[in-house]
Subunit: 344 residues, 2 copies
């Protein structure tokens, strides 16, 4: 079976049909489908349609409760706690980000944790939502252990991403930072394995802690390495504390952690710190100074954080989104089980 | 002149004498001297006594106003703005961190920016102060441009550090994260140059944007590289937004930036998010799981972030702090100018 190319609309339709098939209310299905579709458009296929089979299996097995809605379970001054109640992670993470933005509008800063949540998808989505309100957003999440600590040889930390969104002048998309604290995401190792390729040196170690470029060594009990050694390690530990400990879900290397994404999200109101005009002037001057920087040999132009994703989305809206045959096979199989007609 | 070894007390005495010599009140001098001394003890010589000659020159030139005290210039709900008023950066950064901690005690989270501030020293000091109050601390600062953007070839970003402190059980030192978003700090390149050594590949590029291991290429107009390429770059841009833009000091690559450290500091109250007992249990379980992790070949044991600094301080309290002869020469010269007797 050859690679399939889907339009964003087709991909969205496939997601909606299957999400409805496991009993997801229409509005929640829209949020989950939108998140997967946007990840594929942004070029982060590791967070796109490829995730849906596992999501659906978890819904079928009862680990995710599709009809359940998230709620704000506690609010104290400038902080709040949102629970996904093991319903879908994406609407819950949106509620957490919205709550942080609301509090920031009242008190200048809002800090919110999300608990009892399965996978929330791509972090950029939630800080972008905060930036759309005119605030600066920051979020971190922990996740299942697959990264070795610096100097260690087994999996003790999640890939633990951190994201920021910096709103810009009216009409310009925000500057969006979103990266895993491991050298590479597990999804990239999975892709290399499927293609029979090796991974770049420094990506992983085998079960004995020896450097390896063979993806099989990761799946035989090896570990991903933290980005820039001790720096990525240290940042991941901080993220386990904010996302894992403060949320109550637990850091991912302790027995109390039961899977899922513990999330911390913060919004900062610009006006609490400086006049909006000065803010916009300085951010636009920064964007201009970075985009106009002279380039290193072989580089066409310096991009702002988040620009590669915007360029990918533009291209993929035009050319379609490539989907691996194996993913389509899995989805066809699930559609059969659920008695759903697959849109594409 | 051979390398000098000073005790912490001797080093502190030298700092105090010279800081008094430029008209620094006793209590502010104690804070600046303490910060420099602690950096040397922690093994971060780049932030220790080696900084004092430049500090004193700035004081003599009027760029730093030694008698001036920092103040909280604005407080709104859960946010505040502290100004160093171009007095010493260290007492001002402490006031910013203390203010964040106070607000967190009232409202669950406190977010504070510091403006009109020269160099504030080592970031760890300020988040440790927040952890001593039982809160989680986070801080970022921008600084003069010496790092190239990802794909660029000239200096547009500061080394822009980020730091966290995670309080632990009673009696245990906090977990402390503190790193520059460049591959290496400029101070390490300076040390290699003085010793006639090369720097590891990936540290810097020359003025044409070509990779180099020659420290001279940095001082001939080259740039430091961001840690892990696009990741360190993206994080530095976020830090320029929080530390540079929100503080009003400006991101370091725009003309409005006039030098110094723009700082953002946040404190999070544990009780606002979860019961303190659960917090402590989970943090201690995390610390244990990391410290007991099996090690990669050649590694004795996995350390918590902040542990290398504690081990260095223990060793240097015993063995003394090595100081480069050139630093001592400069300080003797300044002591002569100021009519101060150098303690050691």
């Amino acid at each position: 079976m050859a690679e399939v190319r889907l339009s964003g609309q087709e991909l969205h339709g496939i997601c909606m049909g299957l999400l409805r098939g496991v009993g997801t209310p229409e509005d929640l299905a829209e949020i989950v489908a939108g998140g997967l579709c946007d990840a594929n458009l942004a070029g982060h296929d590791s967070h796109g349609l490829v995730r849906l089979p596992m999501y659906l299996r978890n819904a079928i097995d009862g680990k995710i409760k599709p009809p359940v809605r998230p709620e704000v379970v506690r609010r104290r001054a400038a902080t709040a706690c949102v629970s996904a109640r093991w319903g879908w992670g994406q609407p819950a993470a949106r509620l957490a980000a919205q709550t942080a933005a609301e509090i920031a509008g009242e008190l200048g800063v809002g800090a919110v944790v999300l608990q009892d949540s399965p996978h929330v998808g791509r972090m950029a989505d939630y800080v972008e939502l905060i930036a759309a309100e005119g605030h600066l957003g920051m979020t971190v999440t922990n996740s299942g252990p697959n990264v070795a600590p610096f100097g260690g040889r087994d999996r003790r930390l999640g890939t633990d991403p951190i994201a920021f969104a910096i709103p810009r002048a009216e009409g310009a998309p925000p500057i969006v930072v979103d990266f895993a604290t491991s050298v590479r995401a597990e999804g990239k190792v999975r892709v290399a394995r499927a293609a029979g390729r090796s991974v770049p040196p420094g990506t992983l170690i085998d079960v004995e802690g020896r450097p390896s470029v063979n993806p099989e060594d990761y799946y035989a009990g090896g570990s991903l390495l933290p980005a820039e050694g001790h720096k990525g390690y240290a940042l991941a530990v901080a993220i386990e504390a904010l996302g894992g400990v403060l949320s109550g879900m637990g850091p991912s290397m302790i027995p109390a952690y039961g899977g899922g994404n513990g999330m911390f999200v913060m919004a900062l109101e610009v006006e609490a710190f400086l006049p909006v005009k000065q803010y916009v002037d300085h951010v636009e001057a920064m964007a201009k100074a970075l985009r106009s920087a002279p380039t290193a040999p072989g580089v066409e132009r310096v991009l702002l954080p988040g620009e590669p994703e915007l360029l990918s989305a533009e291209r993929r809206r035009r050319e379609g989104i490539p989907i691996a045959p194996a993913t389509m096979d899995e989805l066809h199989e699930l559609a059969g089980e659920l008695g759903v007609t697959l849109g594409a």
